[in-house]
């Protein structure tokens, strides 16, 4: 990240960000309130922000609550992540037309709009990097992801508060933004004060920033310290921790741990966690054709390893039990991902904990397995599977 001076923007100056991005041809997407949650959608102006809203999150619980100020970023993360735009839930892979005995693929893929992501948290930035590795950095390159990813303008936000479900500090992904964005800001709000400490992370970002702020608004040492302190406060509010020491071996060697039976009794295999998780990437492909059979389309849609038929091969599903599916998801996210892509698949955003209808907590599951070693005798395995391990 280019070493740039930090600048302080007033609210009025910050309000010019969206028009500045619009004038450069970007569609701006960012947080907004809808259906009792803070989701990502197209933003036209500052009033689309969740101004003065915050969220209350716990395992299996999410509520919006009014703040006593007008902060624009005074909440954590909602049910959606930026994969909504980078790895869309429904994408048409191809259109084909039958012609005689053969068929033609029609080259009519619409290009996605140039987008600016406004309000990307540190954990979310890490999630984008994780998905970049999966979908662009391995043996094959997902051209759809690449098309949606290219040219994205990212305005990142340092968190100044944490939800009880956050554990980014355990995963090394936050709350501080460390590069990979065009602009990074910290919102400072208090009685009679509402400003944004902002710095550029790229030439494109510097160019936009120059338009928003006259050069005399360089941030003072004390303001920078206040911004740092605000982010530190978020870190200190983190309640949950996931010990990642040797987690790969821990999960690989505990395939038969009784904890899996325990979580299987609670897990509904509803797949909420995979839908809200910013790094989950599984998809399926569906074929559609019209009544005449001359026009066919192939659609790619989000899928989940929790689905009953996800692992179906002739004769049945390999992972038919809820136990095997939960174990697959967690082991993949925290362990196999490391072998596959060189890093953890989890960024500690806590969404899976918040949005699980029965409040299953991935940090607690890891702790339970770590604290009671896999049974070495047949008897203790049966005994400890009753009740909580």
């Amino acid at each position: 990240m280019a070493a740039q001076a930090r600048v302080v923007l007033t609210l009025r100056q910050f309000e010019k960000l969206i028009p500045a991005l619009h004038s450069r041809g970007y569609q701006v997407v960012g947080p907004t309130v809808r259906d009792g949650a803070i989701v990502y959608d197209v933003l036209e102006g500052i009033s689309d922000f969740p101004v003065g809203w915050t969220d209350e999150q716990e395992a299996g619980r999410y509520r919006l609550r009014r703040r006593n100020d007008n902060a624009l970023f005074g909440y954590v993360v909602g049910p959606q992540s930026w994969k909504k735009y980078l790895h869309p839930a429904e994408v048409r892979l191809l259109t084909a037309e039958r012609s005689g005995h053969t068929f033609r693929i029609l080259n009519n893929q619409p290009s996605p709009p140039r987008r600016a992501f406004l309000g990307v948290r540190a954990c979310e930035l890490s999630a984008i990097v994780v998905q970049d590795r999966v979908l662009q950095g391995d043996r094959y390159r997902d051209s759809i992801y690449a098309a949606h990813r290219e040219g994205i303008f990212i305005v990142a936000v340092n968190c100044t508060q944490a939800a009880p479900t956050c554990f980014c500090t355990s995963m090394g992904t936050g709350p501080r933004v460390r590069g990979g964005c065009d602009l990074a800001l910290t919102e400072l709000i208090g009685p009679g004060r509402h400003e944004f400490v902002i710095e550029a992370g790229s030439d494109a970002g510097a160019e936009v920033l120059a338009e928003l702020a006259p050069s005399s608004s360089v941030a003072s040492e004390s303001v920078c310290q206040e911004a740092e302190a605000a982010v530190e406060r978020a870190a200190s509010q983190i309640q949950r921790h996931l010990d990642t020491t040797g987690i790969r071996e821990l999960l690989y060697t505990n395939f038969d741990h009784p904890r899996w039976d325990n979580v299987a009794q609670r897990c509904l295999t509803c797949a909420n966690c995979t839908m809200v998780c910013p790094t989950c990437f599984c998809t399926t492909v569906e074929d559609v054709s019209d009544v005449t059979g001359t026009h066919a389309e192939r659609w790619r849609k989000w899928d989940s390893c929790f689905a009953q038929n996800f692992s179906y091969i002739h004769g049945g599903s390999v992972r038919s039990s809820a136990k095997s599916r939960y174990r697959q998801w967690m082991t993949h996210k925290l362990a196999s991902w490391i072998d596959q892509f060189g890093s953890s698949g989890c960024v500690g955003c806590g969404r899976c904990i918040t949005w699980c209808p029965v409040g299953i907590d991935i940090t607690e599951e890891v702790r339970a397995i770590r604290e009671s070693p896999a049974s070495s005798s047949l008897v203790s395995s049966k005994e400890s599977s009753h009740g909580n391990s």
Partner: protein, 282 residues
Amino acid sequence: MIMATTTIDDPMLPQPCPVRQVVRETSDTFTLKLEAPSGAGGNWFQPGQFSMLWVFGVGELPISISGDPAERDRLVYTVRSVGQATQTLVSREVGEAVGVRGPFGTGWPVEQAQGRDVLVIAGGIGLAPLRPVIYEVLHHREKYGRLVILYGARSPRDLLYRKELAAWARQRETQVLVTVDYGGLSWRGNVGVVTTLFKYVRLQPARSMAFACGPEVMMRFVARDLETQGLTRENIYLSMERNMKCAVGFCGHCQYGPHFICKDGPIFSFDRLRPLLGKYDL
């Protein structure tokens, strides 16, 4: 695992390949011979690789390529009709186009097998992805040691490639043994699972390499028996199968432990598979 950095753009678009011949092998299994797309020679298949075959508007299936790698104008697939998609695929008529994507996956390590005895052990339709190995060995006979083909099927009526099996048995230094689970009245051959054929093979484990393909439980027992007889795990290869939607490592369906069957496999050494094979709901 980190793969090579050659990125292939748009492996998601199928190429229309006309059906040139349909051969009925058994009551439910057919071999389709497709005309290979022009320019396919640049990315020709290795024995053991598979294609994704797309039936217009219906669905797509991962099917192992089971033809002769030396015949560069034909892509051959042996398909068992077990459901709607496979039924539609095998009902294609000569001249109709089938969408082909690929080839995908890792192949049988035939080069590593040079100078050694090659054991080909097939169960049911597992003989299809192994047939290209047999062709390869027979085309370059002097580069390999003995060729032993052990093949098990459900019943005599389910045996594939019967004429070829007889022809292979006549090749020098080549042993072909066939067995069925259910013999029926007129069968005069072996009855029993394919592992019961091992005792008829004079194995030289130190100079052997085994390639096995069939139902997973069969491969498990074959690998275990081979190890008991002295083959090392690094010289036993199996072809694994899982649900596949994309074949390029993006849809996540084919994961088996940390491996993506579509790009880390389908061929794996028993050495890599052994910790995973015993876990039935992995």
